[in-house]
């Protein structure tokens, strides 16, 4: 677009553009806007959104510790004392029955058979039976219940004393 009666108009407008190129709003405007933004953000966000990742992590960790403590305190005494009532390990009259698989699996096996063997006491310790330093090196006579496919189902110790 040209104006014939004032051909240098575009040049003059370019001068104005150049002079304005570095003109910005006063710094105080940004400062006031940022303050307004901060106060509005604090107002608009509920307390749980103001917490950062660190605060949330700490809160979750505290909650988990509390739940764990309450859970341990509320355990039934029989569970806290050990596994004496567990159906998988039963000790009676100096002998012990140790189920190596679930009771349902043992009962469901079509052709279980008994194999006589000897088991070291150190291995029995791993199964939860009492072992003393004096008898740790001895072996105990045992009858192993084996499933039809040959997998061990249970162990019966005839004398562990």
């Amino acid at each position: 677009m040209h104006d014939d009666d004032f051909p240098e108009l575009d040049t003059r407008l370019a001068q104005l553009r150049g002079a304005l190129a570095q003109v910005d709003a006063p710094r105080c405007v940004e400062k006031e806007l940022m303050q307004a933004f901060a106060s509005q953000s604090a107002r608009a966000r509920p307390w749980y959104r103001r917490l950062g990742m660190l605060e949330w992590s700490a809160a979750v960790a505290c909650a988990l510790v509390c739940v764990a403590v309450v859970g341990l305190l509320s355990l039934p005494p029989r569970l806290a004392d050990g596994f004496d009532d567990s159906p998988l390990v039963r000790i009676d009259n100096g002998g012990a029955f140790i189920a190596l698989d679930s009771v349902e699996r043992i009962e469901a096996d079509p052709a279980p058979r008994l194999i006589e063997t000897e088991v070291s006491r150190t291995m029995l310790a791993a199964l939860g039976l009492p072992v003393t330093p004096e008898n740790a090196g001895e072996a105990v006579r045992a009858e192993m219940l084996v499933g039809a496919a040959g997998e061990p189902l249970a162990l019966r110790l005839t004398s562990i004393d």
Partner: protein, 191 residues
């Protein structure tokens, strides 16, 4: 997530709405200059232009001004908001001296207090053009500033000023002619 010059306005707006202060600061720094320069040339007062910029961005951050990216770019939205704020600022004076009809292409009488002649720019040549621009009727000034200073298209100016493209074209032609006349007279007066 860091903010780079290529981070889009939409992304910055999304982060601003979720309370990200650096995103709002980046958005402000990206757009304050053009909005301030438009307001400065449009109303002729640095203080009023600063108020306009502050109010426009305040509306953006408070959600009072609903920007819809589907209806245009953020800079054009801010130009439109700034223009409306300036019109609101000029309202008392316009009530005293009514504006011509929107399609009236005749130059209107200039209100001295609407275009203060206090010095704004350091360059004498540029200041002379700014003063001549400040003497244009406001509806001519809008078109000339947005087209000549900000490089906006006729369509963008039409959207910002809520007029049709033909009116933009005629206002721009009349505005430039009036500006050329004022500068020519000033040059003749100087010689």
């Amino acid at each position: 997530m860091t903010i780079t010059p290529t981070t889009s306005d939409d992304e910055l707006l999304r982060r601003m709405r979720s309370g990200d202060a650096p995103a709002f600061a980046a958005l402000y720094r990206r757009h304050q200059g053009p909005v301030y320069r438009f307001a400065l040339l449009r109303c002729g007062s640095g203080d009023t232009a600063a108020d306009v910029v502050q109010e426009a961005f305040m509306g953006l951050l408070s959600g009072r001004l609903a920007f819809d990216p589907l209806r245009g770019s953020l800079p054009n939205f801010l130009f439109g908001v700034a223009r409306l704020l300036i019109l609101k600022h000029e309202e008392p004076r316009r009530r005293e001296s009514p504006l011509p009809e929107p399609d009236d292409d005749e130059a209107e009488p200039v209100l001295e207090e609407a275009c203060p002649l206090t010095r704004v720019l350091a360059s004498e040549a540029a200041e002379e053009v700014r003063r001549a621009l400040a003497r244009l009727a406001p509806h001519y000034r809008d078109a000339v500033i947005l087209y000549e200073m900000h490089g906006l298209s006729y369509g963008e100016i039409a959207t910002i000023c809520a007029i049709d493209i033909g009116t933009v074209r005629s206002r721009l032609a009349r505005g430039r002619a009036a500006l050329a006349k004022a500068l020519r007279l000033h040059a003749l007066g100087a010689t």
